[in-house]
């Protein structure tokens, strides 16, 4: 800590001694990145841009989105960095994000970026769902390993599957959205209806189903893949299964205030250097040249669902209402 502080101080001091000395400019960045990595990103950025200081405001994805919407008429944020793609699409349609073409855009994988004209947000990384399958419990119960979404509706899995409630969890909504967009509306609802008979319970958090599969509380959890990978590394007897059409979302960056400093933050956030930091935490990042194999993480690139984030954001309230009416009103968990 002390060393880092000294380093920052030294850099600052050197900057101040430079011929063109000016006061450090502060840029307010709203983010939903995990707390522990914020300092790292800030330091890396400020080392390359000594005249700008990042001021983080951090909250969970849901709260951050709500905050940005609430401040619509009087935005305090200058940059949004590390917020879910569907939220970014919503912010764009509300006119909060300014369209901008950052430097080095060509080096990004376009699948993670704003798909609409006059692009306003750009992917940093992507996170995924997976089916967490507990091998030990499955063996005890004689459950075969499922390989497709349809497998999960087989009667043998009745009462052994947990899934996040999409009304409580973005992860849950991400998967419901992936089904809706890839199976087609009607067949997706029919699928969820069939799956529902096998569900032991819907949880209020996105990682919980994997956690419960990891603990053997259920045999199968449809949940956040990175959580499953971590649990597997810790020693949980899990297999991560990724059938075709797995839900995913990008975390992205966008410009709120049309200033030079803010633009430089956006530029840096999609740079190769930044992506090399993302890859330490996320299995898939936007930059084409940055790839790595995360421990125990399934190869997801081929099975990623086609996702229209704008649609995902637009129809959210309707889908959740419909979902709640169909499945939320069942009171008793089936044992």
């Amino acid at each position: 800590m002390k060393a880092r502080f000294m380093k920052t101080a030294l850099v600052t001091a050197l900057t101040l001694c430079a011929a063109t000395s000016y006061a450090k400019q502060e840029v307010t960045v709203y983010t939903a990145f995990e707390t522990d990595i914020l300092a790292k990103y800030k330091n890396a950025f400020e080392q390359e841009n000594p005249d700008i200081a990042i001021k983080w405001v951090r909250d969970s994805t849901g709260i951050m989105t709500a905050k940005l919407l609430a401040e619509k008429n009087n935005p305090r944020a200058e940059v949004v960095w590390g917020l879910a793609g569907s939220s970014m699409a919503l912010l764009k349609s509300e006119g909060i994000l300014k369209s901008y073409t950052p430097q080095g855009l060509g080096e990004l994988n376009n699948a993670l970026n704003d798909p609409q004209a006059s692009q306003a947000w750009f992917g940093n990384d992507a996170y995924f769902n997976a089916i967490c399958f507990n091998d030990i419990v499955a063996k005890q119960l004689n459950l075969p390993k499922p390989t497709s979404w349809d497998d999960l509706t087989k009667p043998i899995y009745k009462g052994h599957i947990a899934m996040p409630n999409p009304a409580s969890s973005g992860t849950g909504y991400m998967q419901v959205s992936a089904w809706l967009q890839n199976m087609g509306e009607d067949s997706a609802w029919k699928y969820m209806q069939k799956l529902d008979t096998n569900i032991a319970h819907y949880t209020h958090s996105g990682s919980k189903p994997c956690v419960q599969a990891g603990m053997g509380e259920v045999a199968i959890g449809i949940s956040m893949a990175s959580r499953g990978a971590k649990l597997k590394t810790q020693g949980a007897p899990l297999s991560l299964i990724t059938p075709k059409g797995i839900g995913w979302e990008s975390e992205a960056v966008g410009l709120v205030k049309d200033s030079d400093a803010a633009k430089r933050v956006v530029d840096w956030s999609i740079s190769k250097n930044a992506n090399e930091l993302y890859i330490e935490m996320y299995p898939v990042v936007a930059h084409k040249e940055v790839v790595s194999e995360m421990k125990n993480f399934p190869n997801v690139k081929q099975v990623m669902a086609k996702m229209d984030f704008a649609r995902m954001g637009d129809e959210r309230a309707d889908v959740l209402n419909k979902w709640s009416d169909k499945f939320d009103s069942k009171s008793e968990p089936k044992s």
């Binding site: 849901g62 305090r76 009304a167 409580s168 603990m215 949980a236 939320d328 009171s331 008793e332």
Partner: protein, 574 residues
């Protein structure tokens, strides 16, 4: 000290106000100042947030007035009725079970001569020292799919009604026990003498004498339990499965969908049973006071082997159940990786490895609890004194006394949500408080204000009124009387309030879950987060740490009581 420095901020424009203030004595000014501070705190931190919430329940997401459309929309959804039915089923079940369990436990403690009463009392009260999530986690270890005793549930899943009910029975038991013990202890021995003289069977005596005497205490208990159950969200979130209740619905609407208008509507619904409970409770409190008067003789139980034996067995069974739940949590926190690696280790306590926050939530909680206890005790006691013993400004004092009991009727989640509406508003000059430790402290303080206030008032009422009169006759200023006599004499009550605030600030989840920021995340919230993230062992470990801190606080409280007993409480013993 000059008079002007203590007057309200705009004296120069209103010379008449200044003149009025000038006419006040220094004593009156001090009283006015302390009353104003309490009034200001209560208005900003209770009334305003509730008002902001009420307002947003009739606005749509763009802030346009839509009348009752939100309510109509809300009641149209089929899932709402399930949440409502679930909440009430749960509330009534737990209320009845805890009511009867705790009644007989309290009966055994106060009306029998069984051995080890002290130990049973401690064990019966022990669950209050743990956050409500601890029993939930412990129940998963006990009765979950991999649980050590899952056969007990006969194939039923612990996730859902059974889990929430068991968790809440455990957690609300001490609250019931506390009220019922007090109510059973103040019983008139003359009634029992008459019963014996009339050759009434013990069985009949119980129904004709004991039960009616404890009637109001029992009603009060049932109401308190019902409110606690309806408003708790931690247990339902961890072990509730798909069993939706109103409290988890609010969480779902805020965190899952950022639908604040709907959350406000649900909150108002949650406010209703709590308000009703509150009104009934006030009524009961008023009735109960007349039961025991100066001619009553306190009941002293005499040994009766059969009754004492049954009482002992009963208390032993419940105490063992409490120990099993607490013990399972401690065991779970020591298991390296449940259920695959059951080797015991302290790995889960290595929070720096397990979560991004490390040990900071624990220290945040200690900081939160300390500030809440410190600020809260001063504010509550000085406030209660000014309201109860003040000699002027009667209308203001009456108004404040009414305001002081309001926080009890507001469920923690509703209060927390109200704070979001009020303090997260960009146009609010107090917006800077949002996310700060100070706001957490004030929120917790307010959430538990009423019980502290009642304790203070009860202690102050015990002081003879002549004290104030004689002080006035020798022209001793009231603040000197307060400092020299009232405070020392009421020291036990002050310690009670401090300990109560400290322990509750450690264990509370419901209100703070919406208000913390990354720098101020409290331990109870981190239990919830770690449990979500799959570090169930660490979640249990943090819950155990909270419990240890609470036990230490309780011991300190007892020690302080002993330390000051000789010098301040000798007058009570005649």
């Amino acid at each position: 000290m000059s008079v002007i420095s203590m007057s309200p901020p705009k004296p120069s424009q209103k010379p008449s106000v200044l003149n009025t203030l000038k006419k006040l004595s220094r004593e009156q000014l001090i009283l006015l100042l302390s009353l104003s501070i309490v009034a200001l705190v209560l208005i900003i931190f209770v009334v305003a947030p509730l008002w902001a919430m009420l307002r947003s329940s009739v606005l749509d997401s763009d802030g346009v007035f839509v009348g009752l459309a939100n309510f109509r929309h809300y009641f149209e959804s089929a899932s709402v009725w399930h949440s409502l039915t679930n909440t009430f089923t749960l509330g009534i079940t737990v209320m009845l079970v805890v009511g009867s369990l705790a009644f007989f436990y309290a009966y055994a403690l106060t009306r029998s001569c069984m051995p080890y009463k002290g130990l049973f009392k401690v064990l019966g009260m022990a669950p209050i020292l743990a956050p409500s999530l601890l029993p939930a986690i412990s129940l998963i270890y006990l009765f979950g799919t991999q649980g050590v005793a899952k056969e007990v549930l006969l194939g039923h899943s612990v996730y859902g009604f059974i889990g929430i009910a068991l968790g809440l029975i455990f957690w609300t038991f001490p609250h019931a026990l506390m009220i019922l013990s007090t109510s059973l202890r103040t019983s008139d021995a003359r009634l029992y003498e008459s019963a014996r003289a009339l050759k009434m069977s013990p069985f009949k005596t119980f129904f004709i004498v004991t039960l009616p005497a404890a009637k109001y205490g029992l009603i009060s208990t049932l109401i308190v339990i019902f409110t606690l159950v309806v408003c708790d969200f931690g247990v339902a979130k961890v072990i509730g499965g798909s069993y939706n209740v109103l409290a988890t619905d609010i969480f779902k609407q805020v965190v899952g969908q950022q639908n604040f208008s709907m959350a406000a509507v649900t909150s108002l619904l949650l406010l209703l049973p709590a308000l009703l409970a509150f009104v009934v409770d006030r009524w009961v409190q008023k009735k109960q006071q007349n039961l025991f008067d100066s001619r009553s003789v306190p009941y002293q139980p005499s040994p009766e082997p059969v009754r004492d034996g049954i009482c002992f067995a009963y208390c032993a069974i419940i105490s063992i159940a409490v120990l099993v739940v607490l013990g399972m949590a401690v065991y779970g926190s020591l298991v390296t990786f449940w259920p695959w690696n059951k080797a015991l280790s302290f790995n889960n306590y290595n929070f720096a490895e397990m979560s991004t926050y490390g040990w900071s939530p624990f220290w945040n909680s200690i900081e939160l609890a300390s500030w809440t206890a410190l600020l809260g005790t001063v504010l509550i006691f000085v406030g209660a004194y000014s309201m109860e013993k003040g000699r002027d400004f009667t209308p203001l004092r009456r108004f404040l006394q009414m305001l002081s009991v309001l926080p009890m009727a507001v469920p923690g989640m509703v209060l927390g949500l109200g704070y979001i509406f009020f303090f997260n508003d960009v146009n609010n000059p107090l917006n800077f408080l949002y996310g700060s430790m100070l706001l957490l402290v004030l929120n917790t303080l307010i959430h538990y204000y009423t019980v502290g206030h009642m304790t203070a008032i009860a202690a102050l009422k015990q002081l003879p009124a002549e004290l104030e009169a004689s002080a006035a006759s020798i022209k001793l200023p009231q603040y000197k009387l307060f400092w020299k006599v009232t405070l020392p004499v009421c020291l036990p009550a002050v310690f009670d309030i401090g300990a109560y605030l400290f322990i509750n600030a450690l264990t509370t989840t419901s209100a703070v879950v919406f208000l913390y920021s990354t720098d101020t995340i409290p331990a109870s919230v981190s239990v919830l987060n770690m449990d979500d993230a799959g570090q169930t062992g660490s979640a249990a470990a943090m819950a155990v740490m909270i419990m240890i801190a609470a036990i230490l606080a309780k011991l300190t409280h007892l020690l302080l009581d002993k330390l000051f007993e000789g010098s301040t409480q000798a007058w009570r013993k005649r």
